[in-house]
Symmetry: C2
Subunit: 452 residues, 2 copies
């Protein structure tokens, strides 16, 4: 079953496992992708030397390697199959240093996103890219997918918070990208090239992160609207008013029901759709007043958080949206982006797709960035990567394209969205990107078949 080349690597590496449970776990992520076979084995790296050894053995024997962080990905980017060996980085989970004066943390790739924020918080700092999966995803995975989150509305995505990387190249060489300074233009932006490359150009073994001062004040508002169209118009009104909320999240009525039944809350009784908004900084409260003025005409009912606990409870509803849906069946989380003023059209289009394809679609959105997560839910055991769910995914992509948008705002292409990539980036770009990939990985051993 196991390929002979994998066997050579697995026999030679002291951290390798061929335990069936390890192999099964390392073959899936949170995308709903169902593997047809399992990885040949897993290397559990403890340090950089383990990673270097893995890649040296892999390039010597021509073994295909799938890098893996916490396995929370939604594009099957870290899923592996027979003939492949998984390089699991989750045990490299230390914060190596944190310099509160410079606002810089140096971390290993397996460290959990929330752990960085916890450590930064002790110094009045925070790490801005906060996926809803903050408690379970790793920084290495965040970097490989250029992860976003709620605060990205104001503070940018992972790319804007990663200063420098230490990377093991496919041949086992070490590459440093970026720098410790905020600005720098010496040579090409190798750092940005690595970020979002989905484990196809190198293995991130250390990251230098930019921390920001925690905002002095934060104001949190939750508003309920008659329906999704009204909520989307309100989000557009916030942008049109020139406001810069630090959070602007939309949840549709179906999502509110799912959250209510999972958390015992009663959001859906108060409206057919919800907007969660935060403003922060010295002018948080003044900016919140302006935000309320912008959305008031459209809202049925609003609630301003009275204290941090109350605010945290409102934010938690959003964080629990996906886990709540996961209780209802198998989920497939789409990730389209549209120009911010076309949010309402996107939602209307998604509702049309739901009706036409006869699939159940829940909608949440990072509204300030025009990044929507339409989530298809099918009963447990039913396939989500074929048939009408797959057809609905395709429809969503064409919808995004029609509105001037993109196939993926923050989850990546992985295995699942390959079909539509050429149409989005075009043949010239794809050919160039493949040639760039070959510069890093001439043997094609790193995460083959993924991303581009």
């Amino acid at each position: 079953m196991t390929s002979p080349t994998s066997e050579q690597l697995l026999a030679a590496h002291p951290r390798a496992s061929t335990d069936p449970d390890d192999r099964a776990r390392a073959s899936v992520d949170r995308s709903g992708f169902i593997p047809q076979s399992f990885a040949d084995g897993v290397v559990f790296a403890q340090d950089i030397d383990d990673v270097v050894l893995t890649m040296k053995l892999a390039s010597e024997h021509g073994v295909k390697i799938v890098p893996r962080g916490a396995g929370t990905g939604l594009a099957a980017g870290s899923c592996a199959q027979a003939g492949e060996v998984v390089l699991d980085l989750s045990a490299m989970n230390q914060i190596l240093s944190l310099d509160p004066v410079q606002g810089i943390a140096v971390v290993q790739p397996g460290v959990i996103n929330a752990a960085v924020n916890h450590a930064a918080g002790e110094h009045g700092l925070f790490y801005a890219p906060d996926p809803a999966s903050t408690a379970i995803c790793s920084i290495g995975g965040n970097i490989a997918t250029n992860a976003g989150g709620m605060w990205c509305a104001k503070y940018g995505v992972t790319r804007e918070s990663v200063l420098s990387l230490l990377v093991v190249l496919p041949d086992g060489q070490l590459l440093r990208t970026g720098r410790r300074t905020i600005k720098g233009v010496a040579g090409y932006d190798m750092n940005a090239l690595m970020i979002g490359s989905e484990g196809t150009l190198g293995i991130v073994v250390e990251a230098t992160l930019r921390l920001r001062p925690k905002p002095k004040h934060t104001a949190t508002l939750v508003s309920y609207f008659p329906d999704e169209a009204a909520a989307a118009s309100a989000a557009s009104a916030v942008i049109a008013a020139g406001l810069t909320p630090s959070v602007l999240e939309l949840m549709d009525g179906k999502t509110l029901s799912a959250v209510d039944s999972a958390l015992g809350t009663d959001h859906h009784s108060r409206g057919g759709a919800l907007l969660l908004a935060q403003t922060d900084g010295y002018g948080a409260h003044l900016e919140m007043q302006a935000l309320q003025d912008a959305i008031e005409p459209l809202a049925a009912h609003s609630e301003l958080a009275q204290d941090p606990q109350h605010a945290e409870a409102l934010v938690e509803a959003r964080r629990q949206a996906i886990p709540s849906m996961e209780k209802l069946g198998t989920v497939s989380i789409c990730d389209i982006g549209v120009p911010r003023n076309r949010l309402a059209e996107a939602i209307a289009g998604l509702q049309r797709i739901e009706a036409e394809r006869g699939v159940s679609i829940f909608i949440i959105a990072h509204a300030a960035d025009g990044n929507l997560h339409p989530i298809i839910v099918v009963p447990e055991g039913q396939s989500i990567t074929t048939g009408s769910p797959k057809a609905a995914l395709a429809d969503m992509f064409y919808l995004a394209k029609e509105l001037g948008g993109t196939l993926t705002g923050e989850h990546g292409i992985g295995l699942l969205k390959q079909d539509w990539l050429p149409e989005e980036v075009g043949e010239t770009s794809l050919q160039l990107q493949r040639r760039l990939r070959a510069v890093f990985d001439p043997q094609g051993i790193l995460n083959p078949g993924k991303a581009i």
Copy 2:
């Protein structure tokens, strides 16, 4: 004199000029670099077709092409010599569209930075990357150098404000990078790879820019300090206090004298060094109070702008710093970056270099980013790229390196800083970058000898 291959291109292109004045002008920028010969000719592109034709002819005949925007570069990146043809993009200077609702402008590469800001301003928007050269530099040049400016302290550099590019590749093919949405991770970050690549990977012929809402309020403070060390400590205190000024600029005593004699102002009589600070947004005035609290203990005297005209006058002093020095002789503008908490050490190091090398060094800095511009001034006619000025430049680089910093924060490598690049990025990275370059430009015809 002109190379036979250049001659073929120049004869075949309807926009080509071999006028000696055109050639002389196209052979220099604002770096002080003195060319040993002039470019063979200049193509003045009027549209994308002109650019495509240039690159098709160039790749057919193997002609070396030097892209050129407004020629205000400080690294000799657009300087050309015999055997090369300059592709001048300054006539492609139209704003093609501006969508105030989306906050997006689509522009040609030759448009002047300030013109974009002027057009955006009419809709209550602004374009954040504002080099001090805003009135004279082009967006294409800004993109090719990943230009910074004063507002970058809060809003990031050019990379954070360019969503998408249309690029003519060395073989004449068109490549689109990025997208119109704020977020997107479909494929590698080709947009970031192009930004800062100093005209070595392709010719930018169109750019989709992100505009931001103009801040509701702005507060402007100018503070005078006994000396540079005190001003640097004050800047660090601002960062340590967790503030996010939109502008934080430092000028040393010598610069104040230069500005005073150029503008007829009297800054230097009020202190030995100056910090210009702005805060903006709904909390601008509250944040300014906190900023004053942070620097007050170190300042000799402060002045809060009472109205926009007053604020503009204070900002203008900073914008005129380099032009003021240019009146004193030939300038060479260095561009090192250091971790933000090491600004005072950097300044002390620069003063040591000034004494040891016997060259005159003026210092200005984007203090919030740790980006310093030590400016060497020599009497008109004296060489600035050899002898002790060159030695002082080298010293500055080693100083930056010693402090954990970089050779160039925003001006690029161009021709002038090649010597030190390998030490900064390392051989592994440099080899990879050269191979990436060859993917785009296998013939090596685009800006050869520049950047990496």
